[in-house]
Amino acid sequence: MRRQGEPFSTIVTLITAALCTLLLAVFAGLLGYGETESIRDLFQEPEFRFALRLSLQTSVAATLLATVVAIPCGYFLARNHFPGKVVVDSLLELPIVLPPLVSGVALLIFFGPLLGPFLQEAGIAIVFTPLGVIVAQWFVALPLAIRSFRQAFAAVDPRMEKVARTLGCTPFQSFWRVVLPIARPGILGGMTMTWARTLGEFGATAMLAGVTRMKTETLPMAIYLSMTNGDLSFALAIATVLLLVALLVLTAFKVFMRTEVQL
C-alpha cells in the first residue's frame, strides 16, 4: 500500500527519523561530556558496582511487584464498567503527576508516622532500607504498568475466555491460561516501560530510602551525589553507563521475549 515517495508516508518516516536523530544527538552530547575513559575505571569502584547491582536488583524487583499488582488492576479496568470509573482512573494516574520528591514525602509519611509502628511490630523495615528503594520505585512506576496492561487486556477478545470456560476453566484458569498469554506482548512492552521508569527513579527513592552509600544508593543517586559534589563529568560517566545498560537490557529483553517488535 505504501508507495515510494508518497508525501505523507515520507513525512511520517522523516519525523520519526528526525526524532531518533535528536535523541541520539542529545545522548551523544551526554557521552561527549562524560569522561569516557573514566568509565572503565568506574567498574573498579566497589561503590559504583554496588549501585549498579542495587539498581538492577531493585528495579527488577519493583517491576515485578508493579506487574503483579498492575495485572489484576489492568484486567479489572479493561473488563468492568461502573459508575465513577473515570475518578478511579484519574486516581490511578495521579502518582504520575506528583513530582517524585513529593511522592517520596507522601510515602515517608505513610510508612513512617502512619504505618511505621505496625510495620516495626511485623519486623518489616521500609524507611531508609533497600526495601524502601523498591517500594518507591514501585509506587512511581505502577501507573505506567496499569495503563499499559489495561490496553493489552482490552485487546483480548472476551470470547476467548468464554471458550476456555466451556473447556473446563475456572475464571482464574481462563485468565491465567488464555488472557495472560495472549496479552503477553502488550504486558512485556508495558514491563519494559515500567522497568525503564524504575531504573531512572530518584526523587521518591531518595526520600523514602535515603542515599546511604553501599546500602540504598542506586545509580541515579550516585549520579545525583556526584553532581551535588560538583563533579559533573563523573556524574555523566555514570549516566552513560546507565543509558548503555538500559539500552542493552531493553533490547535484549525485547529480542529474547519476542514482543511485538520485529528485529
Binding site: L108, M207, G210, T212, M221, T228, G230
Partner: protein, 244 residues
C-alpha cells in the same frame, strides 16, 4: 557601589543580571536582589538549585553573571575550573548545628552525645553535600567518627533534607544548618556544636567569567558584600563567628 540614578535615563536598556543561587539561601537572596533593584533599577534574575546542580548548569551553559552557592568549597571548585573570577564575601556563614525533634527526646547536649547508642542520626552525604563534608570534619576533629557513623540512620543528599526528614518523624538527631534550625524553631530544637569542634564555611559570592556585563555584576557583588550580612542576619544566619 555605583551611583546609578534611581530611574533609568531615557530608554536605556537596563541590564538584567543572572545569578546561580543555592536553593538553601533563597529567602535572603530574594530580599537582597529586591533591595538592589529598588536601588538601581537593575533586575537580578536568580535560578535556585542545589549547589552542585548550579555548578553543572554553569559549566555546561557557560552563561550568567553571578554564582552564590550554598558554601565556600563550591566557589573554590568553580574558581579552579575557571568558571568564576572575582570572589567577595562572606555574606554570611554556614554553621553546622545539631537538630533534634521538638523536646530533644534523645537528650542531646553536644556533639559527643551523638555516639550514644539510642541516637538515630540523619546526616547529609559526607562526601557530596557541603554540610555533610563539614560534619565529617567535625567528627574527625572530635575523634568520634567511627562511633558516630554507627549511629547514622540514613544519609540524605542535601542539607535541607535533614530538616524535612526530621519533620517527618524519622530519627532523633540530625546535622543541619544554623539558619534553617532557626527558621524551623517551632518544629525542631537546636543544639549548637561546641565552637572548638565546629567547622564553619563562609558563604561567598563570585562573578562568572562568562559574564557579558562584568561591571554590573561587580556592582552587585559589592552591594551584596556590604548589605548582605544585614539581610542574612535578619533571616537567621550567623554573620559573625566567635573565634574559638
Amino acid at each position: 557601589a555605583t551611583n546609578l540614578p534611581p530611574q533609568g535615563t531615557a530608554e536605556q536598556v537596563k541590564p538584567v543580571l543572572f545569578a546561580y543561587v543555592g536553593s538553601g539561601i533563597k529567602d535572603p537572596m530574594v530580599e537582597l536582589a529586591q533591595m538592589y533593584e529598588t536601588k538601581t533599577g537593575i533586575k537580578v534574575e536568580m535560578t535556585f538549585n542545589s549547589s552542585g546542580a548550579l555548578l553543572s548548569q554553569l559549566e555546561t551553559s557557560k552563561k550568567g553573571d553571578l554564582l552564590l552557592p550554598g558554601s565556600q568549597p563550591y566557589v573554590e571548585k568553580a574558581r579552579k575550573a575557571g568558571l568564576v573570577s572575582e570572589v567577595t564575601g562572606p555574606l554570611a556563614y554556614h554553621v553546622p548545628v545539631i537538630m533534634t525533634p521538638k523536646g530533644n527526646p534523645a537528650g542531646i547536649t553536644g556533639i559527643r552525645d551523638l555516639t550514644k547508642p539510642h541516637v538515630q542520626l540523619i546526616v547529609p552525604d559526607l562526601e557530596s553535600a557541603s554540610i555533610g563534608k563539614q560534619a565529617l570534619r567535625i567528627f574527625e576533629k572530635a575523634g568520634i567518627k567511627e562511633d558516630v557513623l554507627k549511629r547514622v540512620l540514613t544519609y540524605v543528599e542535601t542539607g535541607p533534607k535533614v530538616l524535612t526528614t526530621l519533620q517527618l518523624g524519622q530519627g532523633n538527631a540530625g546535622i543541619g544548618e544554623y539558619s534553617s534550625a532557626i527558621k524551623a524553631k517551632d518544629k525542631v530544637d537546636m543544639v549548637e556544636i561546641e565552637p572548638a569542634l565546629n567547622e564553619i564555611e563562609a558563604l561567598p559570592g563570585a562573578m562568572v567569567t562568562y559574564s557579558t556585563q562584568p561591571a554590573a555584576a561587580k556592582d552587585f557583588l559589592d552591594f551584596a558584600a556590604s548589605e548582605g550580612p544585614k539581610v542574612f542576619e535578619k533571616h537567621g544566619y550567623k554573620t559573625k563567628i566567635e573565634k574559638p
